[in-house]
Symmetry: C2
């Protein structure tokens, strides 16, 4: 047993180092032998590094030396950007070969990214019925169940016996994306039931499919959003789900491995939106592949909106200018009160936005959430105020009146921020928008303005200025 106690990742790293050196010395065949020891996923990860470190020219030489079957597998696991770079560098006939050999869903993914004239050239050489299928798949909206699915599934007839079904699977199995769930269709292509391979291999040979098929299965609509698709997989824990059109005709299946990527993508989108970064192209390009001006454009809108919000905050400060110049010590506590308001508000907003995304809470929980955040706000406000009171009186040496002002303001600010932070996402959700879109920076800047107002009003009342 070769692989016992060898850390695969470490081996990959060491081989990569070797390969880069070999490419440097133009020992391409030796580099090829080194990379070929691994599985396609790791090979493609190594090729990705080679493109980054040694440049696309050397990477393409190495890619061309891979066994033909391997090269297609490796290609299918590369990130889109690198796939396009390779297609750019190889001949048309090489491209056609690779695209032909790819699994159907990978083929669609690549074709979607290629320029129209390249796609046309490839489709010219494709048999007519497949060309039609490809065109149908290319038309499903991005991020829909239709764009995730593959047409390569095993379909069975309801009158077949288990033995006939197993013989059919033996014949067709190698081309299917999964053989673990098989689909039973009427002659008009309507889906009427599903049978798992585990049922088939544990039943007697002469039982009919219609007797063992499950007919209250869960299905997806071609237009379902990929987020719904992921939620359905998560809820039921299936390995594959059938996708049907308006007439309930089976048009494809989605398998769980594609859903893992969707889940990661959706979480990334939520996280970035919460930090005020909007990916306008909705692309799956990686951080380093996005050009500087695109990064700037993705981040600019929220910064500009918030800057306008700060005009009002500035005006609040301006309207208290006289009081502040009369008692400049009050300025010292402005950053703390604003910062704490923003931070407590984002905490609440984050918990609620995530809770809504994972179905832990929903709109019917609004009052429960309000009551909970109010109490959390009171508790935190009092605790933080106690700490501050001691600090202001004993460390800063300010008067009790100043300490009272800051602490009272702090309690109100924290309570307000918790309520604001928890209720705004719910409001956004009630308007049928993605709660993550109301970024945390927005919560902070609203609570900044309110925090200052509370502070100055409390100061006027307590200090009589």
């Amino acid at each position: 047993m070769e692989n016992i106690n060898i850390d695969l990742e470490q081996a990959v790293d060491e081989s990569l180092e070797k390969i880069l050196n070999l490419l440097e010395e133009k020992q391409y065949f030796k580099a090829r032998d080194e990379i070929c020891q691994y599985n396609a996923v790791d090979e493609s990860e190594m090729l990705e590094e080679v493109i980054d470190e040694a440049g696309i020219e050397k990477a393409v030489i190495l890619f061309r030396l891979l066994p033909k079957a391997t090269s297609v597998d490796v290609f299918s696991f590369l990130p889109t950007d690198d796939q396009l770079a390779i297609i750019d560098a190889i001949t048309d006939s090489e491209t056609t070969y690779i695209i032909d050999e790819l699994d159907f869903d990978d083929k669609i993914d690549v074709l979607e990214e290629l320029p129209a004239n390249v796609v046309d050239k490839i489709l010219e050489k494709t048999p007519k019925h497949e060309r039609k299928l490809i065109n149908t798949f290319l038309n499903y909206p991005d991020d829909s169940a239709g764009s995730l699915m593959t047409p390569n599934y095993i379909s069975l007839k309801k009158d077949w016996s288990v033995a006939e079904a197993l013989a059919h699977i033996k014949e067709e199995g190698m081309d299917a994306e999964t053989i673990y769930t098989c689909y039973v269709k009427e002659s008009d292509r309507r889906l009427i039931g599903i049978v798992s391979l585990s049922t088939l291999v544990t039943k007697d040979d002469n039982i009919k499919i219609k007797e063992i098929m499950v007919d209250d299965y869960v299905w997806l609509d071609v237009n379902d959003d990929q987020e719904e698709v992921a939620d359905t997989f998560k809820k039921y824990g299936f390995l594959a789900l059938p996708v049907v059109d308006k007439e309930h005709r089976l048009v494809g299946i989605v398998t769980v491995d594609d859903v893992l990527d969707v889940m990661e993508e959706e979480a990334t989108e939520d996280i970035e939106r919460m930090a005020g970064v909007i990916d306008f192209e909705d692309s799956d390009r990686e951080y380093l592949d996005i050009p500087v001006w695109k990064h700037a454009i993705n981040r600019l809108p929220w910064l500009l909106i918030l800057m306008v919000a700060y005009i009002f905050t500035g005006q609040i400060v301006a309207s208290f200018e006289n009081q502040l110049s009369a008692m400049t010590c009050l300025i010292i506590y402005m950053p703390m009160l604003m910062g704490t308001g923003g931070n407590t508000g984002s905490q609440a907003a984050t918990l609620i936005i995530r809770g809504l995304a994972t179905d832990e809470v929903d709109l019917s929980d609004t009052l429960k959430i309000l009551w909970k955040e109010f109490r959390v706000g009171v508790l935190l406000g009092v605790l933080l105020s106690l700490f501050n009171f001691l600090r202001i009186v004993f460390i800063d040496g300010e008067t009790i009146a100043v300490a009272m002002t800051v602490c009272l303001a702090m309690i109100f600010i924290v309570i307000f921020a918790k309520i604001l932070g928890s209720m705004v996402p719910i409001l956004v959700k009630a308007c049928k928008l993605d709660p993550a879109l109301i970024a945390n920076p927005a919560i902070s800047s609203i609570s900044d303005a309110v925090a200052l107002t509370i502070y100055f009003v409390v100061a006027s009342l307590v200090l009589g200025i």
Copy 2:
């Protein structure tokens, strides 16, 4: 076909309404018939709502009326809190029945949450060899591969033929968590290869297992963290992975459905940490089930740490007190500069933290990231300054010198915040800690302090105060 064009979710909601009314009228049998139309996942979701809305007493009456086999399935899909509430309300013998019937991995999950004396009582009645196995599994650290795995897999011998293997699967299949990947073990329990069911059903009956088994498979160590487990599944797209101990003996398997939950959990943990919320119990309790004081404790540490940081910010303000009272118009722009610094810093930090979590970037990209964020910072700083210059001169009616001060400070602050936000997560990662732990609020508060310093220094230089 009953289920065509019926929206399952809507049907569940309507039935739930009916059930709550029936329970209100004490028509328990009718409520049972209503709930029994659905699959176990939806039934358990409905029971969860019944516990929330109608109380645990009525829910337990309904639960007891479910067919025995169904009740175990429904129980297995309930959240931990509700499982414990039901165990609390039913008799010891009912509890023992349910625990006995649960799949092994669900059993371990429930036992882990029960008080020790209840576990002891249940284990007393368990056969000795299973008791030993349960105790071993209970000892694997939380969130490790060991805690996710199940011992119910199909194991084959290398000298068996395909026909023998299939016969074995037919016999054992019903108890296994998956039959789609089978594991080939030596007599000393060492794992030597894997065979997929799709290979078995597509090969001839008399081929030997050792000829078709894959021996460069990917495996997990019992002590691997669940995040690593999820990453491995995501990378290779497998349905199940074998888990081995130090001697490479097969101790269990992890299946992809359990990994979907882990991915959601890990994303939630990252998102919460980035907002400065730390779940000290590391529990999977839902938002509404966490008591107010626990919520407060989870959020307090970062608020306190940041409050200490704001003492320094306050001191920076204090040291410029004279300049500020000489030119109070400078105070007006403090919130904007601090806020923008914080927001741009969090944007950068979020992108890098997420990039590190999804392997889009790693430590070797540090210089590339630095250079990219520097340029993004310059671009955004200049754009935002242009906007501000116009506003300060034409709307606020301040002098060009004041506008220059604010705009110069803005450019420096944005550049600084982008670099700070992108480099701190990398530094934390280099120290082998979770980058998400350095919450965004921390980035904001550091950049607040630096923003004010930059602002006041620029003001001194430009305005000569």
